[in-house]
Symmetry: C2
Subunit: 387 residues, 2 copies
Amino acid sequence: MNDSSDTDLARPEPGEVGLVEVRDFVSTEPFAFDNGQTLPGFTLRYETYGRLNAARDNAIFIAHALSGDHHAAGIHSLNDRKSGWWNNIIGPGKAVDTNRYFVVCANCLGGCVGSTGPSSLNPATGRAWGIAFPQVTIRDMVRADKRLFDHLGVTALQAVIGGSMGGMRVLQFGIEYPTFVRRLLPMATTARENAQAIAFNAVGREAIVQDPDWHRGEYPKGGGPRVGLAIARMMAHITYLSDASMEQKFGRRKRDGAAGVEHAATFDAQYEVESYLQHQGQAFINRFDANSYLYITRAIDDFDLAGAYGSLEKAFREVRARTLCVAFTSDWLFPTAQNREIVLALLRAGKSASYAELVTDLGHDSFLLDSPQLYDLVRDFLAAPAE
Amino acid sequence: MNDSSDTDLARPEPGEVGLVEVRDFVSTEPFAFDNGQTLPGFTLRYETYGRLNAARDNAIFIAHALSGDHHAAGIHSLNDRKSGWWNNIIGPGKAVDTNRYFVVCANCLGGCVGSTGPSSLNPATGRAWGIAFPQVTIRDMVRADKRLFDHLGVTALQAVIGGSMGGMRVLQFGIEYPTFVRRLLPMATTARENAQAIAFNAVGREAIVQDPDWHRGEYPKGGGPRVGLAIARMMAHITYLSDASMEQKFGRRKRDGAAGVEHAATFDAQYEVESYLQHQGQAFINRFDANSYLYITRAIDDFDLAGAYGSLEKAFREVRARTLCVAFTSDWLFPTAQNREIVLALLRAGKSASYAELVTDLGHDSFLLDSPQLYDLVRDFLAAPAE
């Protein structure tokens, strides 16, 4: 800590965000996608934690990943048994301290949890857009996000923070709105995926579009390619963990009631890891839209800062924010080298950037998990001057 | 080389096996599976290369992997544009030298390329067995294989050689028939999978059994869960390669005719790696049976020598053969540590065993690919005395 009197003595026990309200921001200005298609407007569903200060400059934007949404912290009702997806890092006295900051999280454009995306109604047909929805890019997402901050009257973002695809949105935000954002905190991310990461997304998409219930994207809400989407999620989930963490968590343990070798052939789940993945798949199809999965994975695969700007240094040329990029040693989806590459390019471009590598067994999803080391990094980075 | 006059001067230019005949061995003795179910007999489809010597002791058994078959070398007709799957290592003057050895490869029990498996006719119903076929284990496979060698009048195997699941069969063969086999040459294998490898197989199985065309394993030949099987294969194929090899082979290259960002959304293959994987999936469903895929992946997942024998040392207690285990640095499906573990346990059990680790970028499938280093290891190991 830079200032122990500030951080240790004055800091109360971390508390909880508590009850939060879901809001919808409706932008009624036309929005032009990168691909040239235009919508007359769009909705972003969002939540806020903490209060905007008088100068309206204490905001922090939390950018969620592929399967995340606007509900990053707190609970929606007193019966909620589960808090938002990043509740461990956001709250009064937590690393992203809602006593100091006005924290905003929004479901991304193209998403399926209240924001406009392929499952929204296409006014031209009265049915869901399906794959007539414009292809969305990471840049489209952050340009939509920016409208939300304009609507909220925010004059500056103290930080944009996010892991995985959230990290891509962080980088793009810093490029697109250099004077608006003070700090960038991408984690477990990449400035462009390698072939292996594209390959995993490609298989997930194939599982969806080859599902006979996909019908080229035209299916009733709650229906559609549930099998394909579950398969995509099960496979992707493996890439979010690590060999070591799966070994610790499951090893070769069989589930209760698993058949022994003396039994007839069965292809039901026999190992705990099998039923765990099935559960992940089933839980996902009840909360996520298959078309959004197609759109967002495509946006992730197509994100390529070096390709879009000529080189990674050129991409970062206008960036003014200070950057801290956090990577995790066991992340094999977006390996540490890809995170280091971001920081090296920022430094070569003359920017203020640092890199932290946390030793963990927990794989790509490490950024979401309880980690006092990560909390300290985030807290210190937010507390230090931005320039 | 131990003897340069033998290996360098006397060795002719490597030649080709050439035309080979497919044979069927029909065992008419009842066969009891590990799970207690019994078949009145079974068929193994096999090929042989080279000649059995007068002492009938110059045989080598090639054990194929999950998606392999009996056709390891040579061609079936002069129009064949593709040779057997391990043609690079088997042939006159090659590492597995058919001028010296009588080389045998058989489609495994449970397979779908001529050997008895779930797609074979169940005499009780007149239809394919489907999932009424007994659950097969790696030990069942090698006990069936042994009957083939008894039928051929082979008195000793100079070696059993195989990679991946083939390596599991190699180890089990050495355990089951210690006086029959002189050398074991497992590659890119494991004495038991970790949770991550089970997880990938589990997702593949789920893609198959959730395919509406699976019908609990009852489908016409050539029909069935083609989508699920293709998805399973596409995903598995990623695990056979490596991050580095995919990056070299495909990178982020788009395929010809790929849509630019200015186009409407499309979820057809855009990147070369996407269409490559689609091709792998399509090619596979035209040659492989989905039920066999379920059975064989289950046999692989259930293979656990330490679990079955109390410990890996105990599993190897009766082994007499000399072992060389070859691992590949970029193999992340069955990592080098799992191969080393086999050799360490053999050494602790007092056996003659050595370990070779080849530095390669090509991932799990390295054992199948052109590698003079691997050829030299195999040749030297076969040439050296077995005890």
